[in-house]
Subunit: 119 residues, 2 copies
DNA sequence: GGGTATGCCGAATAAATTTTCTGTATACGA
DNA sequence: TCGTATACAGAAAATTTATTCGGCATACCC
């Protein structure tokens, strides 16, 4: 993946948690997998705005971090599935809180930035 | 600040919330200001690992987003203070949840990455 | 004048992340 | 043989974010 040159201080619990989910699509992936199993192609369909390569990389990192699990079936054509792990499930309340916050305060920022806009 | 070329879809509530706090130090700044007013120099002291220039920029963005407020006193030498706003306070439960999660699962990732390490 | 302290900010550089493009592999069916 | 579908991954380019460097302004004190 990416070799960091500047280490991140993961002894700060806030930054540790952040580091696991603050890539562009990780929180969305966890949200998609919260209560269903999806194949890679289905995840791509669910998040069409994401570049497929990035989705693949972030899925791999989520697996490495133990937040989701991957099952590979020895079939042809190849088939695999992603599921959220018990550890990943413990992040869902945080995802939910962010979803709810965004929903509640949406109008404020639509007014400020437009529905689809720059940060 | 930074002019984005690729717009972010803020109509997704999850990504909207994320976009407000996923810069390197924003969540830490909100945590520092959660129950006290701090001067810029005090924020720098509280987060010594952050490059001062970055902290300044992220403080400015947090003000623009209405999550913190800045008071400038017309004195010399100049003095100013940052406070969290009521809107910013509504994010504190999310910060808290991430703090608690990181605290609870710290050992898992210390084993994996070391206390201070790459993502 | 020279040093301190405060708080900003422009610009260049460096690093990290995302995006795009391309290529691999396998077997099925037309 | 050719096209389809599935899934994965290397490499370069583009973009975004972070870092470093240097500078500005003001008034105080020595």
């Amino acid at each position: 993946m990416y070799e960091r040159k500047i280490p991140v201080d993961l002894s700060c619990p806030l930054r540790l948690t952040m580091s696991l989910i603050d890539s562009k699509w990780k929180s969305c992936i966890l949200d998609e997998l919260r209560c269903r199993t999806l194949r890679p192609s289905e995840i791509h369909k669910a998040l069409p705005e994401a570049a497929p390569r990035v989705l693949d990389m972030q899925l791999k990192e989520l697996v490495e971090d133990g937040l989701i699990a991957k099952t590979i079936y020895p079939e042809l054509p190849p088939r695999s599935e992603y599921t959220i792990t018990p550890l990943g499930m413990t992040l869902i309340p945080i995802i939910d809180a962010m979803l709810a916050w965004g929903e509640q305060n949406k109008e404020l920022f639509v007014r400020k930035y437009g529905a689809i806009s720059a940060q």
